[in-house]
Each structure stands twice: as C-alpha cells, then as structure tokens.
C-alpha cells in the first residue's frame, strides 16, 4: 500500500490525486494526504505518474508498513519503477525493450 509522500520532493501538483484509480489521496492547501490508505490496491501507478519521485508504495497489499522517509531516501527506491519502465528522460530507451515475445509459450 502507499506509505510515503515525501514532503521535500512533493510540489503539490496533485497528479497523484487525479490518477489514483481507487481515490486514495485528497487534495489539501499544501501537499496531498493519504486519506484512504485501506482503499489502496498496491498497483504502483501513483508512483509511476509522480514527476518528482515523491511517492513510495510498499509491496504489502494487505498490511501496513510504516516506512521512514529519511531512510528511504538513502535507497534507490524513490522513482525506481518509473526508471525501470522508461518514463524518465534518462531511461526512455527502455520503453521499447519488452521481450515478452521470447518468454511466451514456455
């Protein structure tokens, strides 16, 4: 489930509020809040759409996992999914390397 909005990175663009398919976030006067965490379906799409890499979805679908943002910043987790699918300028060439065609029919 979504665990972290990094207040230092977040620019209050509210894209996450828009794109979350299960309406987990609420807008505020400042940065958005995780208003309905239990509705999170752990699809990681908010992370993918966040242009500032300010969100972190923990991989646990059914249980909460309080996560320390300072420690998280020391890892490569922020933005890792976005980089892996080629949605950053530096990794755009990854968008066309789907090799599933070699794996089907196994």
């Amino acid at each position: 489930m979504i665990e972290v909005i990094d207040a230092e990175r977040c620019t209050s663009c509210d894209i996450c509020v828009n794109v979350c398919p299960t309406n987990v976030f609420d807008k505020t006067d400042g940065i958005p809040v995780i208003a309905r965490q239990s509705d999170c379906q752990t699809c990681f799409l908010c992370e993918l759409y966040c242009p500032e890499d300010a969100l972190y979805v923990a991989p646990y679908a059914d249980t909460r996992c309080p996560t320390d943002v300072v420690a998280l910043r020391q890892t490569a987790a922020f933005g890792s999914y976005r980089r892996a699918v080629g949605w950053t300028d530096e990794t755009r060439d990854l968008r066309g390397i789907d090799r599933s065609y070699l794996l089907f029919g196994h």
């Binding site: 398919p21 699918v85 089907f104 196994h106």
Partner: protein, 542 residues
C-alpha cells in the same frame, strides 16, 4: 476530421449535478471502454466516457500489462492458434468469432503502432505485437480518446442506468466522487465496459472491478452467459498484489519443509497449488530461469519484480510464500450475453465490451491469461463502439424522451435497517474466495453457499438506501453479491467439469453438455441452457 461540433453537449442542470446529452455513453475507461469510445467518435457520435477511477490507470490492464492474442494473417498460423485452445476451453468457442477477433486485433494493433505505441523489434527487424505494457498502452489510449473528441469524466462511477418508456437504455447517472456531486448523461446508446468482477481481492489493478456494470445491466433485464467460468485464481507472492503468472512457468513449488508439491505448476497444475494451500503454506522459487531468461524477465515486466526488490528477496534463488488470489470473471470467461456481431446485449440500446461481456465466443470455458481477453477488449470495444454509434444514428428524436432511473438495491428505503456495504462485501468474499467452495465445486457446497448468498440478497434489497457517502460502496457490494449468485447458480446448472469449472461430484466432461448456460435475475436468479452453434448446425444437418 473536425471534432468541435461532435462533442457531447453540457446541459443546464440543478446545483449539485452536471448533465450531458450524448449519442453514446461508454461506462468504463479501460482498454475496451477506450476502444469503444474512439470507435464511436470516429463514426461521428458525440461520446461521453465515464470511469470510476482515472481513465488511463483504471482496471487490470493499466496496472498489470497484458499479452495479446495477436497472430499474423497466415492461414496456417491462424488455424493453429484457434485449434490450440479449443480443448482447454471445453470446445465452447465459436470459430467464426475467433477469426474475426484475430482480424480485428491485427488491425487495432496496426493502429496502436501508427499512434506511437513503442512495440519492440526483434533481431530480424520484425515488430513484435503480442504484448502490451500496461501503463504505456493505457496512457496512449487516454490520449487517443481525448483526441477523438470524447468527453472523459474521471472519478465518476456510474450508479444506475436510465431507461425510456419502452425499456430501451437511454443513459446513466452516477457520482463525481472528487467533486461531491452527481452526473447524468442522456444518451442514445450505452456501452458497458466496466470489466469483470474480482471481488476486491487485490489482484493487480482489479479493485475497481466489482461487477458494477453487471448489476446495472441486470436491473434493465440483461442476460449473462458462461458465469460458471468465473473461478480463475492467480498466483502472487503471499504478501503482495502482483498477480502476473507467466513467470511462474519457471518456478518450483514447495511445502514448508522444502519438499516439492507434486504436480504443482503455473500452467496445468494450479489446482495442485490450491490443494496444497488448503493444507498449509506453499513456496515458490523461479529456479528454472537461466541468466538470459532472468534478464528478459526484468526488461519485459518490471512490475513483477517490485514486491521482491522492495523486500530484498531474490526470487530466482530464494523461496518466497505464494497465494492464489481470486480473479473471478476478470480472468474467467463469463459476462453479459452478446446477441450479435455489434456486441449488442439482449436489451435495446445496451452494448457490452471487454471483460464485462462474455468471452465464451473466443475462449470457451477457460482463459489461461490476459492475451485472449486483451484481444477481445480491443475487438469487442471497436465493434461495440461502432454498434452503439450506428444504433444512436438510426433512433428518431430523443430529446423529449421521459427517462426513468433503473437502480434498485441501495436506492430504496423501506425497512429502517441500514445498508452496511463493508459487512456485505465480506459476506460475499467468504463465499467466493475459499478454494473448497469456488475452485473445487460440489452440489452440496454450492447449495449451502447459495442459500447464504440468497439470504444476503433478500436482506440487502430490503435494507434502507445507502447514505450519500456509502452509496458507491453499497452498489459495489450489491454488484459483487449479484455476481456471486449468477456464478454459483450457473455452476450448479453445469453438472460436469469443463474448462475452468471443476465439479468434485462430476469430475468428467459430459458430451451432452457442450452448451452455454445463460443466467439472469436479481430477486430470483434463473438459469437456462443455450445450444452451441456447432450443435445447432449438426442438428439441422440430420
């Protein structure tokens, strides 16, 4: 083409609501809904698309990605592709539909390439089109939908259909949940593209898929087909949501003590995993993937690795616990019955596409993965969009039509008993999740579950209207409940095992039951049998 004069018209509406007049309303903004909206708009229709979440991220495809049943137009290849699945599907497919889906999927894939989808190119320089990355595909579909002049309503779950005096479907209304008001769309035709029902099991991207479209369609009298093929379960790490099963083809499954689970496999051995899970934990390790395969896996499906990378598990060398999450009719094949080539349902003005519609015509009683469903979503979406646009065009003036709301459960107050959505959802989950009820079926267990589900329906339909804040959840839980009853009533009607439908009390396929089971009804759920096309022809020839 100009689109400015082909947009849906915003009408004057009272405070707290917005109203549109459109030719076609598409409910659901996943692949089927966006293909339907684009196709209807290209035929000149003024289109509104309403999505419960955000068109572009909503639904199983955006989060998960999908294989696509894409086959080059070589007769021998097509023949092999069609024949290879017939046995698994219990010989309930329809060759004519399989052929037209392969044709339409080929054409739609060409359009995706022209629109800029970054298909990979193989070593021989050929564009490979049998896989779509979910986020990329659905981001592109949202863009094309907007460019086609479609009015998109995000975070706007539909709650009920509108009907005219003749019972034809004439629009829908729902909530704008981030604006805290209501929407109404008066439309000449409606396409239901709300996906299947996965019962809030957190299978990847599927918690928006609660069967809402089924419930709305049933309230105007639509029929369902193949709802017994609704017990698809997907493998995921026990703690996680990523239910992508392809890579488990390289897995070894083991018990707690490390010994191998006999017969367990992702393909053709998933029931062995289910039986083992009834006894205790089951573990997987993808130890059959060599270095090349591991590299291709990482490149192809980055989301598969999120649960592992974030917990520090190396899935190729370490065991991790797995579970089976219910995918219900999302990866099942049951859904709204299609009555003609334009994907019309049995109700005038109402069309169905994607997982909301039955996929029996190309899958029979089994889908092994997203590929057929993805091809079906594109094809049926395209046809439903054209069909709805054509239907809308031939209707006479409709502005003066008197429209009535068709919603029933959670809208009526009559008992002074509150509607409790969360409790109801749990009641349904307790009857559809257990492997011993749904994966492995048996008359007495199905009858027991149905008695409890029927009682829950009687209770819910007599409860008071849900409060404004609870209305969406109330309708979702009622839709899950209705879905479970069509599923199990259909499962009882098929006294054999065929496709994914397994009866412990009838373990064999019965040649006399090569037919479809139709179902419907809300207060009284009914089933009936329809002949398979081949059987009809065989009879006519005698």
């Amino acid at each position: 083409m100009t689109t400015n004069d082909r947009r849906a018209e915003r009408l004057a509406a009272p405070d707290g609501s917005v109203e549109f007049d459109a030719d076609v309303l598409v409910i659901g903004g996943g692949p089927a809904g966006t293909w339907a909206a684009v196709s209807a708009a290209e035929r000149g229709a003024r289109v509104v698309l309403a999505d419960k979440g955000f068109c572009g991220t909503s639904g199983a495809t955006a989060a998960a990605g999908t294989g696509v049943w894409f086959v080059d137009p070589d007769p021998a290849l097509r023949e092999t592709a069609m024949a290879s699945r017939e046995k698994m599907g219990g010989y309930l497919q329809d060759r004519r539909w399989m052929a037209r889906v392969l044709d339409q999927t080929y054409q739609d894939s060409d359009r995706l390439a022209a629109w800029g989808y970054p298909y990979p190119v193989d070593d021989s320089g050929k564009s490979q089109r049998n896989s779509l990355q979910g986020p990329e595909y659905m981001r592109l579909m949202r863009k094309r939908t907007k460019q086609a002049g479609v009015t998109i309503l995000d975070h706007s779950p539909a709650l009920e259909l509108l009907v005219d005096d003749d019972g034809a479907v004439a629009g829908a209304s729902g909530l704008r949940r981030q604006k805290h008001d209501r929407w109404t769309v008066r439309a000449r035709a409606v396409v239901i593209a709300t996906g299947g029902c996965a019962f809030l099991s957190k299978t990847l991207g599927s918690n928006v898929l609660t069967g809402d479209g089924y419930l709305m369609a049933a309230e105007v009298g639509a029929e369902f087909s193949s709802m017994e093929f609704s017990n698809a379960y997907a493998i995921s790490p026990a703690f996680g949501s990523v239910t992508k099963t392809l890579f488990y083809g390289w897995a070894t499954f083991s018990y707690e003590d490390g010994s191998v689970v006999p017969g367990a496999a992702s393909k053709g051995g998933r029931s062995a995993i289910a039986r083992a899970l009834l006894q205790g934990p089951v573990y997987a390790r993808l130890d059959m993937a060599d270095d090349d395969v591991q590299r291709d896996m990482r490149a192809s499906q980055p989301n598969f690795f999120l649960p592992f990378d974030r917990t520090g598990i190396d899935p190729f060398s370490e065991r991790f616990p797995v579970t089976l999450r219910l995918e219900g009719t999302v990866r099942g094949t049951g859904g709204l019955r299609i009555v003609d080539d334009s994907c019309a349902t049995s109700v005038p003005g109402l069309y169905a596409a994607g997982d909301a519609a039955t996929r029996e015509l190309i899958c029979g009683g089994f889908t092994g993965g997203g590929s057929h469903n993805a091809a079906w979503a594109m094809s049926s979406g395209t046809w439903a969009g054209w069909g709805a646009a054509g239907y809308a065009r031939q209707l006479g003036p409709t502005r003066q039509r008197r429209l009535a709301s068709a919603g029933s459960v959670a809208f009526r107050s009559r008992s002074n008993r509150p509607f409790e959505p969360a409790a109801l959802a749990k009641v349904v989950q307790d009857e559809v999740y257990p492997y011993e009820l749904n994966y492995f079926r048996d008359a007495s267990r199905l009858e027991g579950a149905l008695a409890r589900l029927d009682a829950a329906w009687a209770d819910a339909s007599a409860a008071d209207a849900a409060s404004k804040d609870d209305l969406l959840r109330a309708r979702e839980s009622a839709a899950m409940l209705a879905t479970s009853r069509w599923m199990y009533r259909s499962a009882l009607a098929r006294t054999e095992s065929r496709g994914m439908h397994r009866r412990d009390d009838y373990p064999d396929q019965d040649v006399r039951q090569r037919h479809y089971v139709t179902s419907g009804g809300l207060d009284d759920v009914w089933t009936a049998v329809r002949s398979h096309a081949d059987a009809v022809y065989a009879e006519a020839a005698e």
